[in-house]
């Protein structure tokens, strides 16, 4: 019985993860010594930590390093998504402090949890082993269950956490079953190996174990990205969760889900593309349609954005169904810009709502346009970006997604997509209608834009507009990112 010799491993691919984990733990320790009214320092610390880790991430651009025996890889794809996660987390951190203070639940553990979530998401994006991906997913999910229920005193928050937890673990069951079947069909959990084995199969689509495994896995991830019919949790959880966490949830985990899906499907199962793109076609249509149509009649603005978030998952699925470089690069681009515009919109919602998340209906925005013109303009930019109006990032993103589908020959999918996005215009416009075209019922004097929120808004506006006007560089990075898959 010899000793187990732990092999020398290359740590490069997970340096940002390590950094963030260490930072999170450090914050946990610091938290003990920070008095409850000074928790903002933790926010600043974690924000700078996120920036630092972003630097670390960016540093890895262009390299391709596999490590841990093929459990994890550092490549442009992962880097791109990691940036997206960090953007989401950074913005979420910035907008959290004010909200949490107001709601009286500014516990210092919030920030470490966010950072751990990011670690989980990063592992999903860079993992090349089903186990890594699964564990990344769970780290992310468990943190999110907690974050969703973070405001213990709020019944809604409680309920959101519980719902998310129960349905999330239910979906985990399917995901795992799928992984098990894949494992059974291929004999391994390493994506590269799966790719090789599946590539050697004469007719992979006839292998039911494989196909079923693929579908079940898709189910699991579809839950995370809120694709119909696995989307039902989304509106409730988004509504109930503390708003900054909703913002974070809508941007980060969705992107992470796509990262994992893309990684698995494009890396390991490209030979099954005919099958999965067929399914994704249907899912995309269902998701867009359900999301958009249901959103039309919502009153609570968080719910509106929740359904809109479902619809956006649908748009991204359009690009995914196409499965080509245009579409997938579109997903990458879209997820990044979606993080900006959606979190920006939620930031405005935070500002407009009052303690206890009252004042959160669409009609409560009445007259904002002329009482607080800057905020309203900013919100309008986010909304138009969400609606996909040029010259915003949302438009370019959608353009690439749908273009991917068209390039692939899925014209009807693109047509359904654009019709959906025309319908979606209605509920985004509805918010602008209230902001600009209805008389104000309140004077919005309670709105205070603190420095972090202001910064978050500025970043979001820049992130929604600049990629819309000069999208080239981001798109090129996205293209490079998907090329290596």
């Amino acid at each position: 019985m010899d000793m187990i010799s732990i092999p020398a491993v290359n740590m490069t691919p997970i340096i940002p993860e390590i950094f963030l984990s260490v930072l999170a733990m450090a914050l946990l320790l610091i938290n003990v010594f920070v008095p409850s009214e000074k928790k903002s320092y933790l926010a600043y610390l974690s924000f700078f930590g996120i920036i630092a880790s972003a630097v670390l991430v960016v540093n890895g651009w262009g390299s391709h390093v596999e490590s841990f025996g093929g459990s994890v890889v550092l490549d442009n794809f992962a880097t791109f998504f990691k940036i997206t996660f960090l953007v989401a987390a950074g913005l979420a951190v910035l907008i959290s402090d004010q909200y949490m203070d107001r709601e009286g639940c500014n516990h210092g553990e919030l920030y470490p949890l966010i950072l751990f979530t990011v670690v989980g998401m990063m592992l999903m994006a860079s993992g090349t082993d089903l186990m890594t991906i699964f564990l990344g997913l769970e780290v992310m999910s468990i943190s999110l269950y907690v974050l969703a229920g973070f405001n213990r005193s709020s019944k809604k928050s409680n309920e959101a956490g519980l719902k998310y937890f129960l349905l999330g673990s239910f979906s985990t069951g399917f995901l795992l079953y799928g992984m098990a079947l894949i494992y059974g069909a291929t004999g391994t959990t390493r994506l590269y190996k799966i790719a090789t084995i599946v590539g050697q199969m004469t007719l992979p689509s006839a292998n039911l174990l494989l196909v079923a495994g693929m579908l079940l896995m898709m189910t699991g991830f579809a839950f995370k990205i809120a694709a119909a019919p696995f989307h039902m949790w989304t509106p409730d959880v988004y509504e109930g969760a503390p708003t900054p966490m909703t913002a974070f949830m809508s941007a980060g985990p969705k992107a992470a889900g796509f990262a994992a899906l893309l990684r698995i499907f494009l890396l390991a199962l490209p030979t099954l593309q005919a099958e999965w793109s067929q399914v994704l076609w249907v899912l995309a249509v269902l998701t867009m349609t359900v999301g958009n149509i249901t959103a039309l009649r919502q009153d609570n603005i968080k719910r509106v954005l929740a359904y809109s978030s479902i619809a956006h998952a649908g748009y991204a699925l359009v690009g995914f169904a196409a499965g080509n470089a245009t579409g997938t690069a579109g997903i990458l681009f879209y997820m990044l810009s979606y993080a900006f515009m959606n979190i920006g919109a939620f930031a405005i919602i935070i500002l407009v709502s009052k303690k206890g998340e009252t004042n959160g209906n669409v009609s409560d925005f009445a007259g904002l346009g002329f009482k607080r013109p800057v905020l309203a303009v900013v919100m309008t930019i986010f909304l138009f970006s969400l609606a996909g109006m040029p010259p915003t990032a949302g438009f370019i993103g959608k353009f690439y997604l749908f273009s991917g589908a068209i390039q692939k020959g899925y014209i009807w999918l693109a047509v359904i997509g654009v019709l959906n996005s025309a319908a979606s215009v209605y509920y985004y416009l509805r918010i602008t209608v209230y902001m600009y075209m209805k008389e104000a019922t309140e004077d919005f004097s309670w709105i205070q834009v603190t420095a972090p929120v202001g910064l978050a808004l500025a970043i979001s506006v820049a992130g929604s507009l600049i990629p819309g006007i000069v999208p080239s560089f981001i798109l090129q990075y996205a293209q490079m990112a998907v090329k290596l898959l």
Partner: protein
Amino acid sequence: MSNVLSLTTFLPLLGVLLLLFIPKDSKGVLRNVTLAVTALTFAVSLLILNGFQTNAEFQFVENVPWIAAGPFMMRYNIGIDGISLWLVILTTFIMPIAVLSTYTAVEERVKEYMICLLLLETGMLGAFISLDLFLFYIFWEVMLIPMYFMIGIWGGKNKIYAAVKFFIYTMVGSLLMLVALVFLYFKGMEAGITDFGLLHFFTLKLDLATQIWLFLAFAFAFAIKVPMFPLHTWLPDAHTEAPTAGSVILAAVLLKMGTYGYVRFAIPLFPDAANKFAPLIATLAVIGIIYAALVAMVQEDVKKLVAYSSVAHLGFVMLGIFAFNVEGISGGMLQMLNHGISTGALFLIVGFIYERRHTRLITDFGGLSKQMPVFATIFMIVTFSSVGLPGTNGFVGEFLILLGAFESTLRWWTIVATSGVILSAVYMLWVFQRVMFGELDNPKNQKLADLNGREIAIMVPLIVMIFFMGLYPKPIIDKMEPAIKKLVSQVRVSTPVAQAQSIQPVVALPAEGQAPAPEAGGTHETSAPAASTPQGTTTAPAVNPHDAK
């Protein structure tokens, strides 16, 4: 001076930046600055006019890479030819007038209003000068936003409905166009085209089925914007609710986007399909002419009436464009300009009385001529311009359209459309009579003030243009003709089918100096049987005496 086109387009945007620094309470400054910016834009656009060479080429071209990622290559590719030149000038010309019209009409949220106006101008100009399909689409969509806010914020009672309807209606069409645009791009990529440049796609040969689908998508988007029957119902709502300047711009420029889209994109890109659908579109256009005229006749709201008259006028434009000959298309182009001026003026006129009386119901008026003689005169001139009285601009366009359409295969359509000329007189004169003639019996009307200096100043340039374009349209036609000839050849070249149906010989024949040809032994006895084929059913290509020589 090489980027004067960009300068024109983005000058209003700079104006927006300027406005941001002006406090919102100093309304006068805001107004004057906006006026100055638009006037300056107009002045700069005159430089374009001055430097424009009369030929079919695109001029003032600027072409720099913009987006390059994945399969796509978008360029900031702009330029104008004879077709877009005048629409650019029209836009810059109308804008100061529109701004001037808001001096008393808009008292609230002046700053925002002016910003909307300037943004709108950039959007419109950009759409007219884009030679890159993608760039065009961007501007096309951008225009919607300020217009939406103008209707929605400063509109009338039903403003929200109108604004949202306007936005979504247009959006549906343009998004489908986007799909077609991308599809076209990929088709082009197969043929070796590497960017969205419009000119590349002119050379692209597509099979008929593809053309049909693409054409339908483009045509749908443009038809909504035009608006063509039966996609017009957003227009009366939008017009009725929009503030005066909004209506003016909407009528004068925005609707032209649709017709311009046909001329610039839908037709030359998909000539075969355009030929195939010409009868259908002509039918819709003609229905639109008659239908809108009949509906306009019974309107109770002056503004709505003018809105419906727009539908009818643009029906004429569409008919002319789909005649596919120089006369028809030139007529269509002229009519676009005319409609911009006349209908813009009509909306201003409605705005004047609305400002005074806060009603637009025809029954609330009557006998205003007595109280407001200057107003009456101007209204009358504009009315007759709208009716298409010879000597005013309306006639030249309408005449050329009908002439061109009559020459083409759309003869029977033309005959029906010509009856629209009668109906337009009916509804315009009727409303004029009810508003201006009769007893001045409503006490509220008896104290109305006539137009003041500013209002007259607004109308004078329009009136001058009405007569100038009616009496001496030559410079305008001359500048646009080469481009139109090119367009006609684009439509004709690839259409053997359509040519067989076409009765007339190739237009490109030099027509100058061809005096009536004395045919050898040309007594009436010999010529009588040769030409006795009944009109309308002639299908054999006519014998051209000059070809024989």
